[in-house]
């Protein structure tokens, strides 16, 4: 059994209301020095050893991410 991580982020040119809301809240909470925040998703998959990285990329592309507005990265842990 292997552990694979998929990080999904909005494409850079797409508006990220979540990230903006967080970035705006930080100074109000007394945290300075944060220029930008982008918010995305983080998935941890436990997969059988015979599941290839290619298969995980396909899962990410069809289910975990919406390729119209999101990019993703896959890495083994």
């Amino acid at each position: 059994m292997a552990r694979v991580v998929v990080d999904v982020m909005l494409k850079p040119e797409i508006l990220d209301p979540q990230g903006q809301a967080i970035a705006q809240a930080l100074p109000r909470l007394g945290f300075g020095g944060v220029a930008d925040v982008r918010a995305g998703k983080h998935f941890v998959l436990d997969v059988d050893d015979d599941v290839s990285e290619q298969a995980v990329r396909e899962i990410a592309d069809t289910l975990l991410a919406n390729p119209v507005i999101e990019d993703f990265e896959v890495r083994a842990e």
């Binding site: 040119e13 990220d16 209301p17 903006q20 919406n66 119209v68 507005i69």
Partner: protein, 651 residues
């Protein structure tokens, strides 16, 4: 009141969630920009076949997007439609309607006045969204060239920013701080400022370098054309500017004075020390091209109309009729839509007197008097395919009837006309017929059209969608406490209003059971619709209606089942005439009402006075729907058949 319906079809196909969400956002800003408080939304949806793989992608996304945006704005969703038909595969229709309330002396115009006044841009920061969108999007095909896009092809809505924008605008309106206001839609700032200037017959000087940006790499022309969502532009007198900026600050809305009104009669756009444009506003805002498109009646229409449903095999035995009933109420188009409507907040604002599954949404607008409005949307692409003139009038009549059935007097129309390519002469013919049908129908019903929207190019290759005008009807109700529900109480007399003919052209029965579309749609009789509405509204005012439901798709059978399920009360019914025709014909100008037996005579007088045929169907009560001599079905069985198709497909 102000209300309007608008399409967001193509973006909802590309990215269902965001496309539908930004559709809601856009129509809400249209209402807000009038100076009105948005009070409710509705959505009229069309998808490909329910079992098409793409429908499984598009429908859940669209519904979640409409809910996600509208729920976050705090606008109750009080109704709409969901239809499935192959004709919309690849061309789903997402039409969103918004209703707003304002004082007539508080109407705001999209008009700049008074040289020296400030032009204030407020709301979201400007990004590279939808540049070139207005003209490109509507007709774009998807050629994915594989290159990374510099500019986003899809817009992401930010309902939280829009909610703040709404509250901020309402505070600004309440303090009477703007001369004119305009939302930013297609072609963004360029369109907003030229429209404001040309409507006021003034000039304007605007500096693009002060526009707050989300993407600092934007060139001035891109800032001008950006279609970033959730932005408004207002014209403000100098002594009121500070107050406007203060209210924006209170609501956390970014606001910037980007220029001023001038008396030059020209729009002068600057970027740092450069002049980017200098032109008379009229040339942009008003001098659009005028098309004279060729029109041709579709070649296949005669054959289609000649292909009468009379040849279709009808259920004849008692068992076949029962089986047909269960099959019909579980047809995707007739099945319960709670899978969809449960994703919409219908309670927020605390003024919703009726919402799904009723004939119309009813919203209280004055808590002290109970004054309210009712809104319904309707459209039937199959009828329009068979005869667009008649089909448009049937859609109009159905919306009119739905509003009246809940006890409200229909007063005005908004329309969303969804068609294929206008470059196809036969589509253009459908469009022309539809518009004529609507115009004639509105004159006859006395309901002015206050606004609407046209969506062309809904087609795949050379195959257009069925012509689909969606009609939104607004009604007024003096006291929402008198609104009429569809669910029956026990112990009422059940009456059928109107005349039933053998009409199955374009019907749900022909389509669902036989896959047949041909013949003529049901007859339109707008005088009969008026008479029926007079009875329904008069009886509701007089407190004579215990329940009412209009008859439309699926005919009497569908109406009986919906009412029984809604009220959890059955009925015992005797059918007039041929049972199949009585149950499933889609003749227009009909409704079923429930009245107290003691008030039946008074109600009968009302019908006689209006010349509306009133036939006794039976009595309400029990937990069965019994059709005398034909079948009886338990409410449990009806409910199971009616509610399961959407969850079975989309859960």
């Amino acid at each position: 009141m102000t209300f309007k319906i608008e399409s967001h079809n193509h973006p909802s196909y590309v990215e269902p969630y965001q496309g539908a969400a930004t559709g809601v956002g856009g129509i809400v800003r249209d209402i807000l920009t009038m100076g009105a408080r948005p009070v409710a939304v509705m959505d009229s949806l069309r998808f490909g076949r329910i079992d098409a793989p793409d429908t499984a992608r598009v429908l859940p996304g669209v519904v979640a997007g409409i809910g996600g945006y509208g729920n976050c704005l705090g606008l109750p969703n009080v109704g709409g439609e969901v239809y499935f038909d192959d004709s919309y595969a690849g061309n789903p229709l997402v039409n969103a309607l918004c209703v707003g309330v304002m004082r007539t002396d508080g109407i705001k115009l999209a008009k700049a006045d008074g040289p020296g006044n400030h032009v204030v841009l407020f709301g979201a920061r400007t990004g590279g969204d939808g540049i070139g969108g207005a003209s490109v999007l509507a007709s774009a095909t998807f050629d994915d060239d594989g290159k990374p896009a510099k500019r986003p092809s899809v817009q992401v809505g930010d309902p939280f920013t829009e909610k703040l924008l709404i509250e901020c605008c309402l505070a600004i309106f309440a303090a009477d701080l703007v001369v004119g206001i305009q939302d930013l839609g297609a072609a963004g700032l360029s369109c907003a400022i030229t429209e404001l200037a040309s409507a006021g017959d003034v000039g304007m000087r605007v500096r693009l370098d002060v526009v707050p940006l989300r993407d600092s790499s934007l060139a001035p022309e891109e800032i001008l054309m950006s279609e970033s969502q959730e932005r408004m532009c207002a014209v403000v007198e100098p002594e009121k500017l500070a107050r406007v900026l203060e209210l924006c600050e209170r609501w956390g809305v970014t606001a910037t004075a980007i220029g001023e009104v001038t008396d030059t009669g020209r729009v002068d756009i600057g970027w740092h020390n450069e002049q980017i444009a200098d032109l008379p506003p009229r040339s942009v805002a008003h001098d659009g091209p005028i098309y004279d498109r060729p029109i041709r009646r579709p070649d296949d229409l005669d054959a289609l109309q000649a292909d009468s449903p009379a040849v279709l095999r009808r259920p004849s035995t008692v068992d076949e009729l029962r089986e047909t009933l269960l099959r019909m109420i579980s047809a995707p188009n007739l099945a319960g839509k709670r899978w969809v409507t449960d994703q919409y907040d219908r309670y927020v604002q605390g003024n919703t007197a009726l919402a799904h599954p009723h004939d119309a949404g009813v919203i209280r607008i004055d808590e002290s008097t109970g004054l309210g409005v009712a809104v319904a949307t309707d459209g039937n692409g199959r009828y329009c395919r068979l005869d667009p003139y008649v089909g448009a009038q049937l859609a109009l009549a159905e919306a009119y009837r739905n509003v009246a059935a809940c006890g409200s007097r229909p007063v005005a129309v908004t329309d969303c006309l969804n068609f294929g390519s206008p470059e196809d002469p036969t589509v253009m013919w459908q469009f022309a017929e539809t518009v004529q049908g609507l115009a004639d129908g509105c004159v006859e019903l006395g309901t002015p059209v206050t606004g609407g929207n046209v969506s062309f190019y809904n087609q795949t290759g050379s195959t257009p969608i069925n012509p689909t005008p969606v009609i939104g009807m607004l009604g007024v109700i003096a006291d929402v406490a008198n609104r009429v529900r569809i669910g029956w109480p026990e112990g009422c007399r059940l009456l059928l209003l109107g005349s039933t003919r053998d009409e199955f052209g374009g019907s749900e029965w022909a389509w669902h059971v036989h896959g047949h579309l041909g013949g003529r749609p049901p007859t339109v009789d707008l005088a009969a619709e008026r008479a029926l509405a007079d009875v329904l509204v008069g009886a509701a005012d007089a407190g004579l209606l215990r329940a009412a439901h209009d008859l439309s798709d699926g005919g009497l059978a569908q109406a009986l089942v919906e009412s029984a399920i809604a009220g959890c009360v059955g009925a015992s019914v005797r059918l007039p005439g041929d049972p199949f025709v009585a149950l499933f014909s889609e003749s227009a100008a009909r409704a079923v009402v429930a009245v107290d037996p003691a008030e039946e005579a008074a109600f009968g007088d009302l019908c006689a006075g209006a010349g509306v045929v009133c036939t006794v169907l039976g009595e309400t009560g029990g937990s069965m729907l019994t059709v005398d001599g034909v079948f009886d079905v338990s409410l449990d069985e009806l409910r199971a058949a009616h509610k399961s198709p959407l969850p079975a497909r989309f859960d």
